[in-house]
């Protein structure tokens, strides 16, 4: 698999920056161009702003295993000064990166020449004040903190707390709490590792802090459950405050029921009143006040239900799709196969399937809705289930925090779509 397969996509808090991480450990940040005043209807485009190598492959000599450099998640910190900060993580190590601009250069030093050579101090007869002169914009990324050696298992999530001082990192069996300033220790707040590993039947799949309540976080499991924890109740949050699980329909049980119930992503709404979970075939919206069942269930690709055995055989059933909310929480989006992604409008209850591919769409043209034919006669422009390309999976998508601009990662290509301006 090539190193430029995108493995995570994330807008920053203002939406002006969009970060992507890839399998080769690189981070590429795009910046939205300032809108052109002379053409008020043209929206800002995203262009490359900074590229840097965040993680390198490592070798764990104790276990004789490679540690992949693939970036699993990127999360931005809220901006506090001119520089931008983000957290990026691979399976084992989290790094805090500072991205800063330099567009001025000091000229006229006393102790060195313009080319940097040191001047002989005895030859200096007059002093001058260096002047700042403009230069071509340079964007620098530098690692400010490295949070290592806290995870035995593979990190699947990081989440910045609303206090802007702490963040959590979750692996398959544990969740740790960090202070952004302190790298040599973290606090373990969830541990589901059984004493006897032979008894292991459930793992943590995702975790996130509540957007406003800095003591609350949730984590999802491979058994389709979500636990909400309150850090005020105890230091070790092994006991949850709330437990979200939809009872299984016994008549639809098959050998694959558990696998498809495994939650691959959990996201709070911006409002903090709801959360969304993604399992293999559907997206569910939960009211935090109701643990017994979701308030909405949206089918992503129900036509795959009869193909689960094949999808198990080729491992596609283990694909981890992410999901995201629109800025106003009125719509949700998630990916599927064949470079399709799905958007659901929660108010109108309408949904649409779109495709991210160069062949099927021209720049600036509207995307045409796609339809999968599930049986019977295939209409023109429909695609049959058996023709879907299961290697073209859209696992990572992101929605601009304020506008209707979306970023969709299709293998090693990034697509950015926005609402058409009338």
């Amino acid at each position: 698999m090539s190193a430029d397969i995108i493995s995570t996509v994330e807008f920053n808090y203002s939406g002006d920056l969009l970060a992507t991480g890839d399998k080769g450990g690189r981070v590429v940040i795009f910046q939205r161009e300032q809108e052109n005043k002379s053409r008020p209807h043209s929206r800002g485009e995203y262009n490359v702003y900074s590229t840097f190598q965040s993680h390198e492959p490592e070798f764990d000599y104790l276990k004789s295993l490679e540690i992949e450099e693939k970036i699993n998640k990127i999360r931005w910190l809220p901006q506090q000064n001119a520089a931008h900060f983000l957290l990026s993580t691979n399976d084992k190590t989290i790094k805090l990166w500072k991205i800063s601009e330099r567009d001025k250069r000091a000229e006229g030093y006393n102790l060195k020449d313009e080319d940097g050579r040191l001047r002989d101090p005895f030859r200096i007869t007059a002093l001058r004040v260096p002047k700042l002169k403009p230069m071509d914009l340079m964007v620098e990324a530098s690692p400010r903190r490295i949070f290592a050696n806290a995870h035995t298992y593979h990190i699947n999530s990081i989440s910045v707390n609303s206090d802007h001082e702490t963040y959590l990192s979750a692996d398959d069996l544990r969740i740790n709490l960090w202070h952004l300033e302190i790298t040599d220790r973290s606090f373990n707040i969830v541990d589901i590792k059984p004493v006897n590993m032979e008894e292991l039947t459930e793992v943590i799949t995702a975790a996130e802090f509540h957007p406003h309540q800095c003591n609350v976080f949730v984590y999802s499991s491979s058994k389709g459950t979500v636990r909400l924890c309150d850090m005020r109740s105890s230091a070790l949050c092994d006991r949850h405050s709330k437990f979200f699980e939809e009872p299984e329909d016994p008549s639809s049980r098959s050998f694959f029921s558990e696998i498809i119930s495994s939650i691959s992503d959990v996201k709070f709404s911006h409002s903090g009143r709801y959360m969304m979970t993604r399992d293999y075939l559907s997206v569910k919206v939960w009211d935090l006040n109701m643990e017994s069942r979701p308030v909405e269930t949206h089918q992503v690709h129900e036509y795959l239900r009869s193909k689960l055995c094949s999808l198990y055989e080729n491992d596609c059933i283990f694909d981890k799709f992410e999901c995201c909310w629109s800025g106003s929480d009125s719509a949700i989006m998630t990916g599927s196969y064949n470079n399709f992604f799905r958007m659901f409008d929660r108010n109108t209850r309408r949904d649409v399937t779109l495709e991210a591919s160069r062949e099927n769409s021209k720049p600036r043209a509207s995307l045409k809705p796609r339809k999968v034919c599930t049986g019977g006669k295939r209409k023109k422009d429909e695609i049959s289930v058996d023709s879907l390309d299961f290697n073209k999976k859209i696992l990572h998508t992101a929605w601009h925090p304020a506008e209707n601009i979306i970023a969709v990662a299709a293998t090693n290509n990034l697509y950015i779509f926005q609402d058409k301006v009338n």
């Binding site: 298992y153 398959d172 590993m197 050998f255 055995c309 491992d315 390309d389 290697n391």
Partner: protein
């Protein structure tokens, strides 16, 4: 070899005939639910073995597969309780169509009540199967006493399965990933050989992801890493001997 396979099937269908309306017509040529369940079990065990040798295996995936294996075991142990007959009457699915996507994906309700789906015999069943098809024969050849089709043996094997699962998690825990053989070091040799055979068969078929469902067939997992391949290469030789018997 073929006779033993067919005999096993006939025996099963005689047991089923009492339970089910309509019986199993042409059971000799039709893959039964038990066979397909067995195939799923075999496939799952192969998946657990074919872990990446260089990188730590995905724990979530391993846990989900192991749970699936346990479920199948439990059901095999209570065999006869809520099992189903393959409702499709459609002629003769060839013996190599063991892993039919349709039956295993259907819920209990669908299987009991509704009409068979027409696509049971269609092209999108995996071709991985030619390898798997010979396995039960090989198994039967090796262990004529503990035929996989009998409930008793499933209990015996369950001990072996449980042990294998424990081995796998022990291995993950200790992170001494080593070679495939290590995962099943203590399991009795006949069981180990079944896995070796399966691994060998899988390794020798063309692997890689197809772009459509029809092309899924050969791949059970990501193509084995190079160190896997050398192990599989040695096993290929053993497999050839079995197949040609």
């Amino acid at each position: 070899m073929g006779t033993m396979f067919a005999r096993g099937l006939k025996r099963k269908s005689a047991e089923d005939g009492e339970d089910v309306e309509g019986g199993l017509a042409g059971a000799q040529a039709m893959p039964s639910y038990s066979l397909q369940r067995q195939s799923l079990l075999d496939m799952s065990l192969v998946k657990l073995q074919l872990c990446h040798m260089l990188v730590e295996p995905n724990l979530c995936r391993s846990v989900l597969i192991a749970n699936t294996v346990r479920q199948i075991q439990e059901e095999m142990a209570q065999d006869g309780t809520w099992r189903v007959v393959a409702p499709q009457a459609a002629g003769r699915a060839p013996l190599d169509r063991l892993v039919s996507t349709d039956i295993l994906c259907r819920s209990v309700r669908e299987q009991e009540g509704e009409r068979p789906a027409p696509d049971a015999g269609d092209g999108h069943t995996p071709d991985l199967v030619p390898g798997l098809a010979t396995v039960p024969s090989a198994q039967a050849l090796r262990n004529p006493q503990s035929s996989l089709w009998e409930v008793d043996s499933s209990r015996e094997n369950r001990g072996g399965f449980q042990k294998s699962l424990d081995q796998i998690f022990e291995t993950l825990e200790n992170k001494t990933s080593g070679s495939v053989e290590e995962l099943f070091a203590d399991v009795d040799s006949s069981y180990y050989d079944l896995d070796a055979v399966l691994t060998g068969m899988v390794g020798s078929t063309q692997s890689g992801h197809g772009s459509g469902l029809q092309a899924f067939s050969p791949a059970t997992a990501a193509p084995p890493s190079s160190s896997c391949r050398s192990d599989l290469g040695e096993l290929d030789h053993a497999v050839e001997i079995l197949v040609e018997t």
